[in-house]
Structures are given as C-alpha cells and as structure tokens.
Symmetry: C2
Subunit: 210 residues, 2 copies
DNA sequence: CTCTTGATGGTATGTTTGTACCATAAAAGA
DNA sequence: TCTTTTATGGTACAAACATACCATCAAGAG
C-alpha cells in the first residue's frame, strides 16, 4: 500500500476550500474545478474523495450544520457556569449575527443552502432543517426557567416569545449578511429586546393586557 | 412595418415566465431555454426583448422590487382611511409573510436575489437594497406618531423598535418560506408583538428600567 | 407594387460543466 | 522480488449553456 492518507482530513480540507469559494463567488458559482484550484489539488482528487458534485455539496452542508451546532454550544459554554437562562438565550441568539469572517462565511453559505432547499428535492429532507425546531424547544425551556426564577414575566407566552426571538435573530443576522446593518447595531437591537423580556429580578413589572 | 407589438407587455410576459420557473426550479436553474419554454416563445425572442441574460435578470429584479412596493402600498390602502399607525405598521410588516402563491413566488425569488447580491457585484448596487433603509425611516415615523397619539409607550426608542420589527418581519417571512412555520403561525406571532408595542390608549403601562 | 423595417424562427459556435477513462507512482504484503 | 492496492495526475467526452448569425414573414411607406 502507498502513502495511506487520512481521508477525513483531506475531505475537510476540500470542504473548507469549497466554503471559501462559495463565500467569495457564491454557491451557484462553485464548480469542481474552482474547488480543486482553491484547495490546491487536482480535479481528479476532488472526484476521488467525493465521487460526485452532489455528494460534495451534501457533505459540505452536513459539516456546516455540525460546525454551527458546535459554535452555539461553545458560546453557551463560554458564557460561564452556572449560567442564567437570559445569558444562555443571548449567547445562542447572538451566534446568528455574523461577526468574524468564519461566521460570515458560514451564515452566507448556510443561507444559500436554505434558499436552495426550497426548490431542490435532494436538499429538502436534510437534517439541517431540524435545527430551528430543536432550537425553538430549547428556547421555550429557557424562557420557562427564567419565568420560574422570577427573571421573566410569568404572564408571557413562552412559545410565542421563543418564535419571536428566533425570527429576530434570523432577521438581524440576514440584514448584517446583506450589509444593510453592522453587526454591532444588530447586537444592540437584540440586547435591547432581551432587556425587555428579562427585566431582572423585579416580578410583573410589565402587565400584559390579555 | 409589421405587426407592431407592445414591447412592455411582451417583456412582462417573459419576466412572469422567469418568475414561475425560478419559483419552481430555483433561480440558479433558470436558463434562456427554460424561460423561453415557460413563456411559450422561442429562445430568439427572449434574446430579442432582453438581449442578454444578465439584462433579463436585472429587469426581473427591477419588476420584483416595483411589484413588492405596490403590494405594500395596496395593503396600507386596504387597511382603510384614516388609518392608525398601528394598523399601517401591521399591514406593512405582514406583507413580508407569504400567504398566496404570488406572494410566495415573489419572496422566494427576491430572497434568492438578495443572497446573490452578496457575491455578485452587478447586483450589489441595485436599488432594491434601498428598500429596507426607506422602510426603517417609515416605521420610525409611524412609531413616533403612535407615541404622540398615546397609542405607544413614549419611552420606547422608536429607531430600535423599528429595526426590531423589520427583523421580526424578515425572519418570520423567511421561516414561512422555508416551510418551518405556517403563515398563520407567523402572523399570530407578529400580531402578538405588535399588541405589546401598541397597548392601546393606556399610557405608560409598561415602564422600562433604563 | 416594391422596399424598408420590425418581429420571429432556426441553427451554428465556442465555452464551460460534470464525469468517465487511462495511466502511474509508491508502499505494503506475498 | 513481484504483486496488489491506494493515491494521484491528465485527458477525453457528451451535454448544456449563452450568444451570434442567417433567414423569413408580414405590414405599412413610397
């Protein structure tokens, strides 16, 4: 047998090249050739490790989903321990706002995949679509915990607030991606809304009408 | 001279065909041929009325922006007159939630263009990017009017609330587009948040901390 | 009646794409 | 030493694409 190469490392290298190329030229402009050039390998090698372009794209999407999950968990962990629900929620939602270049790349390509998944049947049933559903349940639980701890108004509808937060986070992230807003601006707006949802220890500061 | 055809009508017909094809197969899959087939004309005709593919895509984007502006104005008008700021804001923001098939098509293709504009220099400086900026100013004015009328808390930061509303609307609309949520669900969440912002005639029901 | 001109169809062309095929170096096992 | 297998390069090929070119039909102008 020859050199015996670590396949997973090679695949990761090629996938990273694809992500760079997609972030620079757009996902639609990604070709086998451009990925090969970006990765500094021959087209034949890309074929060798991913056989077909469709599988390369699928593998990239999978890695994207895994990495974003990791990033979210890292943020929660970085928020310290024990962490108040409010800080956990903030950490999770702020991950959707692209700040560093890696984050920007991830969200841009991820969004391109999401739009693609509406019309592409091969992408429609992909696991990355489960993320928002899981995230919603997670946020509901955190909100409920905050309510029990007296950090959030107990009259709030946790589910509706969770859906709202998810929408805010996605909408702000998208606007930053489209260069309509700075990341700092988006962060400030998100924090502003969180401050309203979590007024602190004071109970029932805000009495809803219904 | 021969038949003498209404060019604008022909162009609109071809653009509509492109929109249908893009909503069905994805904007990336749109070709001169597919547009021609969808419109029921020859490829040569598409060339004749739009010369190049890039110009066809640009014309489609322009029409999209115009039509969406019209739809928003129609909604505001349909809300009756005189209209309370709260109802105007609701009408404007709900337009971002795709309900009927036309609306879904518009938002899907529009989103595809938006993602494309990040990497495509020809699309980056297009007028459709101005819309969010204008919309933000419009919302700020409406919120300020509501505050003066006593329909909204005068302590609210109108600008931050406007940015937040825009993000909510975009985020909810996107989630409906991606089939993560129903349009009814998104509408309910948006209304729920509006009810918090516009508690009605009661002043200072909700006292912010800062 | 001719001639010009707008509207249309068909086809050719050069380029790019994904992929299949052929070849080879090299290292491990026989 | 001689396979056998893994990793790699180069190239060939059919399909699809945007676009340029050539041809034609028909209706109003002269």
């Amino acid at each position: 047998m020859p050199k015996l190469v670590d396949h997973e490392e090679r695949r990761a290298h090629i996938i990273d090249a694809l992500l760079r190329a997609a972030a620079r030229d757009g996902l639609h402009a990604v070709t086998m050739r451009s990925v090969a050039v970006e990765a500094g390998v021959s087209v034949r090698l890309v074929q060798y490790y991913f056989d077909t372009k469709e599988q390369l794209l699928l593998a990239t999407l999978e890695r994207l989903a895994v990495r974003m999950g990791e990033r979210v968990r890292d943020r929660v962990r970085a928020a310290g321990s024990p962490t108040a629900p409010r800080d956990i929620v903030e950490a999770v939602l702020l991950e959707a706002v692209p700040t560093d270049e890696e984050s920007r790349t991830f969200h841009l390509v991820y969004t391109a995949y999401a739009v693609l998944s509406v019309t592409d049947p091969a992408l429609a049933g992909q696991p990355f679509l489960k993320a928002p559903g899981e995230m919603e349940d997670f946020l509901i639980a955190q909100l409920a915990a905050a309510q029990r701890a007296g950090d959030a108004d107990p009259h709030l509808d946790a589910r509706q607030e969770a859906v709202l937060l998810l929408a805010v986070s996605a909408g702000l992230g998208l606007s930053v991606l489209l260069n309509q807003r700075t990341a700092d601006d988006a962060t400030a707006v998100l924090r502003h809304h969180l401050a309203r949802l979590f007024p602190g220890g004071v109970k029932s500061l805000c009495t809803p009408l219904g």
